[in-house]
Each structure stands twice: as C-alpha cells, then as structure tokens.
C-alpha cells in the first residue's frame, strides 16, 4: 500500500503542484460517464484517465466503423464491427491502471427510456456528438438529479462545449493576479502595536535598511494622517507627495548623498497598491445577498454555512471587513523582522478564523447539526480564500431552448458582427434542426454537398423564425457547414478534449473556475468565445 502511494505521488507530482493532495483525492473519488466514444469523447476521457480519476463508464450503442478508427487513437482496425464502448474502454483503461473502466453497450436514448436513474450515480456526465433531442432529454434528467452535465461537439473545424450545472461553488479559485490583503488603510490593533515597536529615526543603518516596506509605509502613513486630518493620500498628486515623503526618509551619508536603501525603494514602488482601500469584492457582496446565504437550513451545503458565518463576522468582529488573509509578499528585510511581521498577520488571520468558527458553530447548532460537521481546517481554508469565492450557476438547457426564455439579447447583439463566433452557435442549432428533419447531417456524402445547401438554409430560416431572431446569417457559413459533412477531424477533437477535461476536473475538484456556459472554438481562425446562453 505504501509503495503504491509513493509511486502515485511521483507519477502525479506535476499535477499535485496545481491542485494539491485534496484535489487529487476528489478526482480519485469521481466516477465519470462518457456518452459516445467518438474521437472527441476518447480524447476528453484520455485527459481524465491520465490524471487518475477513480472510474469511468462509457455509454455507447454504436458499432465501430472504419471511419471511426481513422480519427480515434483509442480504436484500432481490429475493433471494426465491435461495440464502440467496449473497444474504446480497453484502450483507455490501458493508459492508467489506477483507473477503473466500465462500459454499457446501449444508446443513451434507450437508457433514458428504461432506466434514467442510471445516470444519478455519476459525478459528472459528458455527452459527445449527441443529437438535440437526446441532449434535452438527458439534460432534464441530470438537472433534476443535480448531476453536472457537459455537452461537447466537434463539427468540422468547430468545437462546442456547454456546461449545465445548477450551482457550483468554488472556494479555491486560485486567481492569477490577486491583490495582497495588507490592511494599511485600516490597520488592526496588533499591527499598529507592532509598528510602534519600530523607531526609524533611532535605528542603526543596518536595521534601517532592512526594515520591511510595509512597516515603512505604515509609519509614514501615520505621519501623513496627523498632518492631513486623518485622510489617506487620494489622488495622483497626493500619492506623489507621499512617495516623496518616504524618499526623504532614506538615510544620507556624511556628504548628504542618499544611501542605497532597497527597502525604501520597495516602499515607494508599492505605494499605489498599498493604499488600495480594503474592500469586500462585489462578487462576495453578491453572495452575501443571495438566498442560500440568508436562509441556512440543515440541508445547506457547508459552503453556504461558512459564507453566512463570514457574513456574521463582517458585521461583528470584522467591523465591515473580511477575515484577514494572513499572507504577506516577500520583501527586502532581515529574517527576524520579516518573520515577526509575517506572524502578526498570521496570528490575526487565526484569530479571525476562530471568530468565524464560532459563528459556524452557532449556525450548525441552530439547524440541529453537530459542530464537527464542518472541520476547522475547512473553515481556515475558506477564510483564507474569502476574497476569491466564486459561485457558478448555469441556465438549464430547457431555459436555453425555450422560446420564452431564450437569451435573445445576447444572440442578437453578438450578431451585430455577422462573423462573431455566435454565428457558429446558430449554425450548430440549424444543423441539429436539419438532423431532426432528415435523420442525417448535411453534406456527409460528396454528392449531397450542393443540394443540401438549400435544405440547410431552410433549417436556418426555420430556426431564426421560431425564435424571432432578427439576424442575418451569411450564405458562406451555410455553404461551409455543408462542406464539413459532420466531419470530426482529430486535431479539433483533441483541442476540445483538453478543454473539456479540464472543465470536468474543475467541477470535480471544486478548484479553479469553470466557464459559464457555452464555449465555441474556431480552428479556422484559432479564436474562441464564451457565451452565456
């Protein structure tokens, strides 16, 4: 057992550095359903099997054809004539012995007819190359069962993804460029006391040059406050004056020439961001105002209980601010000064988290749940990420497709530019319509290409009419879609394979933020767009 754990640590090392052991654990507990082992499907699954998901089940009623093998790495010409789910499972399973692969030789429509609850067991269902009717049926079942659904399609040189999840909470969003939480505009008591312990004027040169810039800015802010009626430097002019004020504090040698004090240069450089007002991000304010936060019940997921506790904290101990994050950036300083300063922030963060914990306890008690239901370490993680919390809510497919609730504004405004990626969304919808009517896709055989152009145009017009979309779709796109002949070229499948797999990993691990809710990739121009439909 120990040997396997160590070798898994080695094997997964490069990805553990991105989502940590707890993220990996979530992956290993996941069971993913893939519907249709086409090239797109197997490419998506490959990128989930390699990082070590617990299990997968492929649902596919199709028999492997020569065409299938031509673009699919996980089918071989030996598999021609076999069931596609079974054939693909063998070659995907072979990628990673930690993963358990299963297959069901059945079409999703049959399963929906006979046993729709089959799909309830999955962490996420990924549907590939599904016709519209199957998609909508499945979408409804999964929505009611709160199972996330990721719809993917490769059509010629286009990739399409649609995420359908009612409510997806993210504590660890890992933002790329997060602002530091230093509280220089509203220093807490322990920080103020710590700053008091420094007397810049009486320090020797070594100490002076190795005082952390945060202390320097705090000291000078105190002086500025007393001279400016307790107001922070507000505009460019005042900030410039403040920077100059700090610059004058740089030690000078016997000839009056300023010494080389990098810590002071750091302070000056950081004035702009240091003076940012401590504020609760609007995303978090919105969450505080949501229904789920304000009505905590025994059914409330821990995310909402913790959020409510943080809201209580903000209105009490926090004096209008979130719990202190507790981290500071590296800066020029001697070890002791830096560590001491870091500890001031760390201890404050611990204190704030403890206060939040008390609120969590109260809330749990009020709904009859034991205080241990939410672990201390989870509360600490939540507090540390309080500024970065995100909740993604996608509209259902029913809402997207219903004439009453279709997002007409988004569609028509995007189509002000007739070459925007929105045209591909509309064409994919039109192509689905064509399939419904003719039980085939346009232009699959060479002889069909020309004659299907007019038929597809009818489908396009019927779509636009039904939804009253007052937009114009250029004939070029209709021609191009006939030309595609519902081809599934491997490189486009592979692009979608990587994209979809990572979105699935985000859903499973609750780390990083999933897209909302439609993604279109255009391999012709190598551009993409995310639409909310």
């Amino acid at each position: 057992m120990a040997a396997t754990k160590a070798s898994k640590e080695q094997k997964y090392d490069r990805q553990l550095r991105l989502w940590g052991d707890h993220g990996q654990e979530a992956l290993e507990n996941a069971h993913i359903c893939l519907i249709n082992a086409t090239a797109t499907g197997t490419e998506i699954l490959k990128n989930l099997v390699l990082p070590g998901i617990g299990a997968f089940t492929i649902v596919d009623g199709h028999t492997v054809t020569g065409e299938d093998v031509g673009n699919n790495f996980f089918l071989s010409n030996n598999s021609i004539g076999k069931n596609r789910a079974q054939a693909a499972t063998e070659l995907l399973q072979e990628l990673n012995s930690d993963v358990s692969g299963n297959f069901v030789e059945e079409s999703p429509d049959k399963l929906l007819d006979n046993d729709p609850e089959f799909f309830h067991r999955f962490t996420i269902v990924i549907g590939v190359q599904l016709p519209e009717s199957t998609c909508l049926r499945l979408g409804s079942v999964l929505w009611n069962a709160s199972v996330p659904f990721l719809v993917c399609k490769t059509y010629g040189l286009l990739g399409y993804m649609r995420l359908v999840v009612q409510e997806h909470t993210v504590i660890e969003s890992h933002p790329d460029n997060a602002l530091e939480d230093l509280r220089l505009d509203q220093p807490f008591a322990e920080f103020q006391n710590h700053v008091k312990s420094y007397d810049l004027d009486s320090m020797d040169k070594k100490d002076h040059s190795h005082t952390p810039w945060i202390i320097i800015v705090a000291k000078y802010l105190e002086k500025w406050f007393s001279e400016h009626n307790c107001r922070l430097p507000k505009n460019y002019k005042e900030k410039e004056a403040f920077r100059q004020f700090i610059r004058e504090g740089i030690l000078k040698n016997e000839n009056g020439v300023p010494e080389d004090e990098e810590n002071f240069e750091e302070a000056i450089k950081n004035v702009n961001t240091a003076l940012n007002l401590t504020k609760i991000p609007s995303t978090v304010e919105d969450l505080f105002n949501s229904e789920q936060c304000n009505s905590i019940t025994s059914q409330s997921p821990s995310f909402w209980v913790m959020l409510r506790a943080v809201k209580e904290f903000v209105h009490n101990e926090g004096n209008g601010s979130l719990p202190v994050r507790g981290t500071i950036p590296d800066m020029i300083a001697d070890s002791q000064k830096f560590i001491n300063l870091q500890n001031v922030y760390r201890e404050k963060a611990l204190q704030d988290a403890a206060a939040v914990s008390k609120h969590v306890e109260c809330l749990l008690q009020s709904v009859g749940k034991p205080p241990e239901s939410i672990a201390e370490k989870d509360i600490k993680l939540f507090c540390k990420n309080a500024s970065f919390l995100r909740v993604v809510r996608c509209r259902s497919l029913a809402e997207e497709y219903s004439v009453d609730s279709v997002n007409k504004d988004e569609i028509t405004s995007c189509m002000d530019n007739p070459d925007s990626e929105m045209v591909f969304y509309l064409m994919l919808r039109a192509v689905d319509r064509f399939y419904q009517q003719h039980s085939r896709y346009p232009g699959v055989y060479n002889y069909q290409v020309e004659e299907d152009i007019s038929k597809l145009k009818l489908s396009v017009n019927s779509l636009l009419q039904e939804y009253s979309f007052n937009v114009n779709i250029k004939d070029d796109y209709i021609h191009e879609f006939c030309r595609y002949g519902a081809a599934e070229p491997h490189t486009v499948s592979a692009f979608l394979g990587g994209s979809a797999a990572q979105e699935a990993i985000k859903i499973i691990s609750h780390q990083f933020v999933p897209f909302n809710n439609t993604f279109i990739y255009n391999a012709m121009s190598q551009t993409s767009a995310t639409l909310q439909l």
Partner: protein
C-alpha cells in the same frame, strides 16, 4: 504577412497523403474525416487551395508532454512520414501526461518508445526516432523537412532551433528564396497556460524577435540566501548552492535532482536552516520543485496546445486554410481564454534581421561590461557568450567560458578596457552562444 506570400512558399504544393497512395494498410472509410477538408472547396479555404497527393515530411522536436500529443495528432491527420528528436529518457513523473509511455518504459529513450507506440497503433504511419540533442544534428538533417513543429521545454533550445532554420535561408541579391523557408510551429505550456505560434523564418517574427515575451528567470539574491532567508525557498537554495558544494555529500560534486537521496539531503539541511530562522513551509515537494525548477504540468493543457499546433501544420501542409497569423495564447484558470495576435518582426533582431548588432560603449569600458550586456539585455539574454574578433589579420578569442583552460587564459581580458585590447571603432565582434547555432555579429560603436 500577406496571403500572397504564403503561396510563394514551397509548402503550398505539399499535402497530407489523403489515402490515395499507400492503399495497402488503409481500410474502408479510414480517412473520411480528413478528406472532407482536402477534397472539397469552400468559402473559407485558402485562395491557392488545390487538393494534392504528395507526401509531407514533418519533424517533431520533443517527445514529451507536447511531443506525444503532436505525434498522435499528426498521425491521425494523415501525415505518414514523421521524425522525432528527444534527448531524454522516461521518468515516472512523465506518466501523468506523456501517454505513449508506461511504467515498464521508465529509463528508456522517449523518442524510441514514442515512435514504437505510434507505429504500432497507427498502421501506415512511420515515425523515425532520434535519441539525440537537437544540437547533435546538422543542416543536412533539418533541410529534409517541409515543416518543423516544436514541443520543447527550454527557451535556449527553441532559440537554437530558430537560429538553425534561419541559417538555412538563402538570399539571392538580397531577396529571400521562398523554397529555403521551413515553417516552424512552436508550442509552449506551463500549468494551465500555453501558447502556439507560427514562424516563417525570414518572413515573420522569429523567437528572438519576441524574446521579451520570455522574461529572464528570477534567481534569489545571494545575500538573501546567505544571510537573510525569509522564505522556505531561500533555505532550500542555501542548502543547494552553498552547503552542497562545501560538504560534497556522497562524495559527489554534482547535485542530481533526479536522485531521491540527493533531494532528501537538501530537504533535511533546508529544514535545519529554516528552524534556525523560524521559517515554516519547507516540504520535500517544495525542495524538489526548487532544486529541479519544476514547472507544474497536466495532460489537458498539453492536449490543447499540441492540437492547435497540429491544426496549423495541417493548414500549412495542405493550404486548406490561411494559417494562424501568428501567435495564440491560451489560459484556462478562469473559464477558457484565448487571444490571437500578430507578433511583429524586430527590425534589428539579433537572430533574423541579418543586420550586425550595435554595441555602444566608450573605449574606456571594460570587456566585462560587454559580457554583462550580452547576458542581461532583455533582447539578447545570452547564457555564456564567447567573444572573438579579428586583430591584425588574426582570429583572437577575447573571452570564452566553456573551456576551462581558455577561460583561465582569457579571464584577465575582462578587466581590460576595449582600447587596451586593441579594439577600434567599427570593429566587428563575433559572439557564439548556446542560444544560437550561428555566431552573431556585433559592431562596436564607440561613444564619448
């Protein structure tokens, strides 16, 4: 780059084999998906589009995260003649994304295992492996390819490859001969970010034209490491840079990042150092990450970037569509984000502009200053430049680091002024470096 120019490229007539030639290993319908793009005209296809049946020879550089994906993508797009170069052997930590390798392959050369896998999974495709450094192969090797696609993890290697393709360009009366251009598709990944670019050497922005896009690696200052650690990383660098060379544990001079015993030693020393300064956070994983400069990696990003690269190879080989012009950036940390732009050529690029680089220094400047400029300037970022010149008709090495005896002999030159070294205004200096296969010419321009 204008549409017209790409039609001048020799590649406009080349194409993927659409399944018409070697019918022996093809089964019914095998290439149906690909043929729709080769055989059918359409409104968005390239003006010069003409279906063709010649075969295209592709070179893939790297058989790692991007390389495995590239080989699969190219094979399943119909390319039959593919060479792959990689100097590495397989490690356990590769297995989370380099899907052509299995636990039993650990220790074997990546290029060979990758080639074997593709050749057996994709009948009719012939991948030829080269277990070598790119620098071990010469002009005559690279010249045989129609398109080269890179999946490298090193900026130095990219620049070398870039320089090699530029050196293959031929000019007649100052006009570039299009048949000497070998398109270079370059892919790079790091965690959840990646990029793909199309380079037509001599015509579009090359790697060195946009060197500023790769900011130099930041190393911690020595005084921090030696006397003022604050972060766990500082403690690890202390053990690696200062303690290891001093104590030479295991009787060995070279610290091997792949040797768990070595990492364990560094880890323990780092913990001691951290304890001394009350620093928390030193872990085995962090230690390994710092010592080996590990870049986190996942299968998904490699898949996306390699797919975008292979799509461009297909477009260029078949003229089916206008290629990417010329740089794509991808990031899926928050949703999925792509951005496409045209990187511009630099007029005085040290690699592709054919213009001797300007060196502006006073005659009283020391050679050391020139050395520092060559390594620190953001547009040059040389690693260990060797500087030579011609004095009194003879070739003279001013400074060279890579050979110990020559380094010792030429070291005193660093403290001498340019005047003392006998250099004059307008003097040409030839600089060699690992970042380029050809020497770069500089012209001394004396300032006051």
């Amino acid at each position: 780059m204008h549409d017209g120019q790409i039609s001048m490229c020799c590649v406009s007539r080349m194409a993927v084999d659409g399944g018409h030639r070697d019918g022996g290993c093809d089964w019914d319908g095998r290439w149906n998906h690909v043929r729709k793009f080769l055989e059918r005209p359409g409104p968005f296809t390239h003006p010069d589009f003409e279906p063709s049946t010649e075969t295209c020879k592709i070179l893939v550089i790297g058989a790692g995260g991007l390389g495995c994906e590239l080989l699969k993508n190219l094979a399943l797009s119909g390319f039959r003649l593919i060479h792959v170069v990689d100097m590495d052997i397989i490690d356990v930590s590769n297995l989370n994304r380099q899907f052509l390798f299995r636990p039993k392959d650990v220790g074997r050369p990546k290029a060979e295992v990758a080639a074997d896998f593709i050749n057996s999974r994709i009948p009719g495709c012939k991948v030829v492996p080269h277990f070598k450094k790119i620098q071990d192969l010469d002009e005559s090797f690279y010249r045989q390819f129609h398109i080269i696609v890179c999946g490298l993890d090193s900026i130095i290697a990219r620049r070398w490859m870039n320089g090699m393709l530029i050196s293959l360009l031929s000019y007649e009366d100052g006009v570039l001969d299009p048949s000497s251009i070998i398109p270079l598709i370059d892919g790079g990944v790091e965690g959840f970010k990646g990029n793909t670019r199309v380079i037509l050497p001599g015509m579009t922005a090359c790697i060195d034209c946009t060197l500023e896009l790769y900011p130099p690696q930041i190393n911690f200052p020595m005084c921090t490491i030696a006397s003022m650690p604050r972060l766990p990383e500082h403690c690890i660098e202390y053990a690696r840079i200062l303690q290891w060379p001093k104590e030479k544990p295991f009787g060995v001079t070279c610290l091997d990042g792949d040797n768990p015993q070595h990492i364990q030693w560094v880890f323990e020393r780092s913990q001691e150092r951290a304890a001394e300064f009350n620093i928390t956070g030193v872990t085995y994983r962090l230690t390994q990450g710092v010592v080996k400069r590990i870049i986190p990696a996942v299968a998904s990003t490699n898949a996306v970037i390699a797919a975008a690269c292979a799509t461009e190879v297909f477009k260029i080989a078949t003229s089916a569509y206008i290629p990417l012009n010329n740089y794509l950036v991808f990031n899926d940390v928050d949703g999925l984000y792509t951005y496409t732009f045209e990187a511009e050529r630099k007029e005085n690029c040290s690699a592709c502009s054919q213009v001797p680089q300007d060196l502006q220094f006073p005659p009283s400047a020391k050679l050391q200053e020139i050395l520092e400029y060559l390594t620190e300037n953001a547009s040059l970022q040389m690693k260990s430049p060797a500087i030579t010149t011609t004095l009194e008709g003879k070739n003279k090495t001013l400074y060279l680091q890579s050979v110990k005896s020559i380094e010792e002999r030429t070291r005193p030159n660093l403290c001498k002024t340019l005047k003392e070294l006998g250099l004059s205004d307008g003097q040409e200096l030839a600089v060699a470096d690992v970042t380029t296969p050809q020497t770069v010419l500089f012209k001394l321009n004396f300032t006051a």
